[in-house]
């Protein structure tokens, strides 16, 4: 069992938990993810790793209530335990293989959509700590979905915030800010976009327009997360890849986002029904 040591509510729907998981804390690297399960009949839910403390043996997860399973996880409190956590899963970010000298010379632009700020954080933190120049855009529908602003500010050079409705930061979505940074003459060696699939699709289109290489982290459907089921398959450069073991990070230019978006809707009917039964039908599912 994996004890929840600390729980914080970041926004009405988003929670942060620090959980005891020594093995994962010891081996987690930026870019990887984990799978959480709660209860005997619980679903395996892939979640990003927001932070880890190797000495204390803890990992931090940030989770948004998006359905029955995430709601069950979010309803646990400090002192409770998660039934299972598996990880770290997937490949670490490419830059984990770069030398410190190389990293020092690089300039990164991170684009985080909503709860996507959580997995961006350890990446920005790592690069920033080694002297890379790091700019971060956090965008969301409204101010209630903007998270980790203060922490992020400490691990980047410039932080930009935007909301669709203008309730916080600039009005508009992340691509507007991307375009402006480009127009202002900012040059980046790499852009990394993490957030809802649809956001990553448009961030990639904008990156293309700005002639900027882009990495995206795919949040596909998954069951085991170890390469066994193929639920997470995605076309990348015309080839079928498994997001869980070949990814989750891929070159955005190569990803067939329309297929990925379609595949995410596979269990929409079942999910909506389960949401309704659990009184969660206020949740918006695209």
């Amino acid at each position: 069992m994996y004890k929840i040591l600390k729980k914080e509510q970041l926004t009405p729907l988003i929670f942060s938990m620090v959980v005891e998981a020594p093995r994962i804390a010891r081996s987690a690297k930026p870019g990887q993810f984990l799978i959480v399960r709660t209860g005997d009949m619980g679903e395996r839910v892939p979640l990003t790793i927001c932070d880890f403390d190797r000495e204390k043996g803890t990992v931090r997860i940030v989770i948004q209530i998006a359905g029955v399973s995430s709601n069950k996880i979010c309803s646990l409190n400090e002192g409770d335990s998660l039934t299972d956590i598996t990880g770290p899963l997937g490949k670490p970010s490419d830059f984990m293989e770069f030398t410190p000298d190389k990293i020092k010379s690089l300039r990164y632009l991170f684009v985080a959509g909503g709860v996507g700020a959580a997995p961006v954080y350890p990446q920005a933190k790592y690069l920033h700590s080694l002297g890379a120049k790091v700019d971060v855009i956090i965008g969301a529908r409204n101010k209630d979905l903007i998270i980790m602003e203060e922490e992020m500010r400490k691990v980047c050079t410039n932080l930009f915030i935007c909301t669709d409705d203008g309730s916080k930061g600039e009005k508009g979505n992340v691509t507007v800010l991307m375009e402006r940074l480009y127009a202002q003459g900012n040059k980046y060696d790499m852009c990394v976009a993490i957030g809802p699939m649809i956001m990553m699709k448009f961030a990639t289109l904008m990156a293309k327009k700005c002639n900027l290489p882009i990495i995206v982290s795919l949040n596909t459907l998954m069951v085991d997360g170890t390469g066994m089921c193929g639920a997470c398959r995605v076309s990348v450069g015309g080839k079928t890849m498994f997001a869980c073991v070949d990814g989750p990070e891929f070159n955005g230019y190569d990803v067939d986002f329309d297929e990925a978006l379609r595949r995410q809707t596979l269990y929409r009917k079942e999910e909506q029904q389960a949401d309704a039964e659990a009184g969660l039908d206020f949740l918006v599912r695209k």
Binding site: T226, G227, Y267
Partner: protein, 464 residues
């Protein structure tokens, strides 16, 4: 013995009833039936059945004890060679192994060896509940890590524990059992009644298990050997990665690997209303493949309410599934499109499966495997309307262990190369089961695990 009666039939759930539930199909023999069936054994001087059992169970000897009614003795005899008899009695392909070589099969029906094995194991389990488990052996102080809790890992762990080793199994999923848990459905291999009990008897021997450890990522083999004090490691990680057809439309909504479909249903219990894991409910389902996994997927879909068709490129004779599974599938109403191969998955305007285009096949010359190789019949394309396509074409090896363990030799297919008795190219690292042989059977994997246990024992005794 040598009673010249017909094979004693085994009681089964009515096909119409069982097609709507996940209860076990076969009820097995009771004591009386088992003793009667045992009376048919000729007790051959040179028993061909033993020679064709991958682990060499002394079949006539245990059957003789069943005949006498000494079921405990029969269990002891089986246990000398097999550690999972309740499972193997249910899932072994007996018709190509023990029963396939039974002399009685030449003119009539072979002794029902699998059902007798199952009876002995079930009888033992049902009558040993509450009894004190076998005393844990004297510990020899050496730690051995077993990676994977499928058949090979369980067999290896069990033998090592009996020799006094301190064994820890590392399992990547949240539940132990490997394919026995995620792959083979409840109606063929009950989880609570059989699999979990067999696992419990292992834990009673002192074997420890750490679930949620994906070796290669959570911890490496080198960590286990150098930092965690394990003297040797057994790799029994199986062949887990699903193969797909590589035809157009394979990523349409409604195409699944059999692994995914079965994992959702078996490991995640999606058939149960109380499960949080969804499974795709389709009116019509096609399953591609002719092995046991294809039969399992088809019969699962049937139980979830679908009209099911199996598509297989060779003819009935070549179906690699156990004869009993094919027979059961047919009884339950699964349809077969034989000598047929899918060429394209057809989607509707929103990208959901609505059909599968197939081509008829004919059998040509025998290929390397000795089976006649199927050739497409030009111009014979036709479409089967379906809402889902489940691909059960086999599996390949996950390269994670090889990629994260320096100097661990693999072949072109990613299988770990072993020499002598299950030793890999790395000192202290042993391997067996599907990760070495490619996808095979429970009994073969189990046999490999047992061989590895002996090799590990020798290795550790020589060095420490």
């Amino acid at each position: 013995m040598a009673n010249k009666i017909d094979r004693v039939p085994v009681r089964e759930q009515d096909p119409k009833v069982r097609a709507t539930n996940f209860e076990e199909v076969c009820y097995g023999y009771n004591a009386e039936e088992a003793m009667l069936e045992a009376s048919r054994c000729l007790n051959c001087k040179n028993p061909r059945c033993v020679a064709s059992c991958p682990v060499g169970i002394k079949i006539p000897n245990f059957i003789a004890e069943v005949f006498k009614g000494d079921f405990n003795k029969a269990f002891e005899i089986i246990s000398e060679d097999s550690s999972l008899p309740a499972i193997c009695g249910r899932v072994c392909p007996q018709e190509t192994q023990c029963e396939g070589s039974c002399i009685l099969g030449v003119k009539g029906q072979p002794v029902s060896i699998g059902k007798l094995e199952r009876f002995v194991a079930d009888h033992h389990r049902e009558n040993s509940d509450g009894q004190k488990p076998v005393e844990s052996p004297q510990s020899n102080g050496h730690k051995v890590a077993v990676i994977g809790s499928g058949p090979s890992g369980l067999a290896c762990a069990s033998d090592l524990a009996k020799m006094g080793y301190s064994v820890t199994i590392f399992e990547s999923l949240h539940k132990a059992g490997g394919v026995l848990t995620y792959g083979i459905p409840e109606f063929r291999l009950p989880k609570k009644k059989v699999v979990e009990k067999e696992l419990q008897s292992l834990f009673d021997l002192g074997v420890k298990i750490e679930t949620n450890v994906f070796v290669g990522l959570t911890v490496t083999i080198d960590d286990l050997l150098n930092k965690e004090g394990f003297k040797a490691v057994f790799v029994g990680t199986g062949a887990g990665l699903p193969l797909f057809l590589n035809i157009p439309g394979e990523n349409l909504n409604g195409v699944f690997s059999a692994n995914e479909y079965l994992t959702r249903n078996n490991l995640m219990q999606a058939f149960d209303q109380k499960s949080d894991t969804p499974i795709f409910h389709a009116k019509r389902v096609c399953v591609v493949g002719g092995g046991n996994v294809a039969m399992d997927a088809a019969r699962t879909a049937l139980r979830l309410g679908a009209d099911v068709t199996i598509i297989y490129r060779r003819s009935e004779k070549e179906l690699p599934a156990r004869a009993e599974e094919v027979h059961h599938a047919k009884e339950e109403g699964v349809k077969f499109q034989l000598l047929t191969n899918p060429t394209k998955v057809i989607g509707d305007e929103n990208g959901w499966v609505k059909g599968v285009e197939c081509i008829r096949m004919e059998l040509g010359e025998p290929d390397e495997s000795g089976r006649r190789s199927p050739q497409p019949v030009a111009g014979s394309e036709f479409v089967i309307d379906t809402d889902a396509l489940i691909v059960a074409l086999g599996t390949k090896i996950n390269r994670l262990i090889a990629d994260t363990t320096p100097n661990l030799e693999t072949d072109k297919k990613g299988r770990l190369v072993t020499s002598g008795e299950t030793a890999t190219s790395r000192a202290g690292v042993f391997a067996g089961g599907d990760v070495v042989t490619g996808a095979a059977t429970v009994i073969l994997a189990m046999g490999e695990g047992r061989r590895a246990a002996k090799a590990i024992d020798r290795y550790i005794k020589e060095r420490y």
